[in-house]
Amino acid sequence: MTGTWVSALTAKAEAETPAGGFGERIAENQRRVFQIALSILGNSADAEDVAQEAFLRAYQKFDTLREAEKFRSWVNRIVFRLALNRKRGHKRRLARDTEWQVVETMTTVDGAKEAEQQVMLGRLRREIERLPKKLRSVLLLSLVEEMDATDVGAVLGIPPGTVRSRLHTARKLLLEGMQ
């Protein structure tokens, strides 16, 4: 019953409002937007929350974001900033550990339960958190699907060449840290 109502409402939102086509934009971008939030926050619940907020903000500005490319780059930037703000909020409140949730991460490893891999993933997360902020942002955004150096640079406001050089430095430090 509720599902029917929501479907009807969403169909109406898409077809009748000036925001027609918004649903299509969500479908095109949701995976990447969610992954950007996840890369920063490290847990799905917060990442989904932040991704939803980013899309709702995009909805408010949809009149100026109708072009697919414009929408994509705008929503990438906004979700990154929202995720960083959320993370800062968590740190301030000290309510949640800023470390990545290894248990959750393991669910994405196709059920692999090897203790060594779990330990390595946890260690990897900690090493990433230790990286300087500029390097960490580049590394995490580069992990997101469909994000090349140009996309990462657009989010961070730096040229693609700088993205590549920071990524290289980040990998070097990560390698040294894990030695």
Partner: protein, 164 residues
């Protein structure tokens, strides 16, 4: 790693990461078992990282009803007036308070200035030079009075002793 091999540390990391090796470094690796072993170890870690890093984010996606939920939330905001962001409301309130404070402070400062100016003017009017008292003549009191008809300004009381 031997302390003598510290200078190769960066090249070891570069080689493990990109595979690039200078001729000099290649020569060193042939002669230094310690560095060769360390390079192998670093390469193994790098391979492990290459496999693990994508697992942190890639492949993950939002829940299946994510799009529906966002659209429903967007539709729910449809009827709402286009509210200004919270920071803008607070900024406006702050600016209003600041403007009111400045106005009141200025007003009270103007009032204070006016009162001070008035007091200064009054003081100026009341001010007498100290030499005024020196310029007083003994007969000033007499000169200030108006004699009755038939009297004279020069009616000065005479000391009885002097008369005797």
């Amino acid at each position: 790693m031997k302390s003598a091999c510290e200078k190769w540390k960066d090249q070891l990391l570069e080689a493990a990461l990109t595979g690039a090796r200078s001729k000099e470094f290649e020569l060193h690796l042939r002669n230094c078992k310690s560095c060769a072993a360390e390079l192998r170890e670093l390469e193994a870690i790098r391979e492990h990282q290459d496999a693990l890093l994508p697992l942190l984010v890639r492949g993950s996606q939002p829940s299946p009803d994510f799009r529906t939920r966002v659209l429903a939330a967007a539709a729910a905001t449809e009827g709402e007036p286009n509210r200004a962001p919270r920071w803008r409301v607070w900024a406006l309130a702050g600016a209003t308070v600041a403007a009111a404070t400045v106005f009141l402070v200025q007003r009270s400062a103007v009032r204070k200035d006016e009162a001070e100016e008035l007091a200064a003017a009054q003081k100026l009017v009341d001010w007498r030079p100290p030499s005024d008292s020196l310029l007083k003549t003994p007969g000033q009191e007499i000169l200030k009075t108006t004699p009755k008809l038939g009297d004279s300004y020069l009616h000065v009381p005479v000391n009885k002793l002097e008369e005797e």
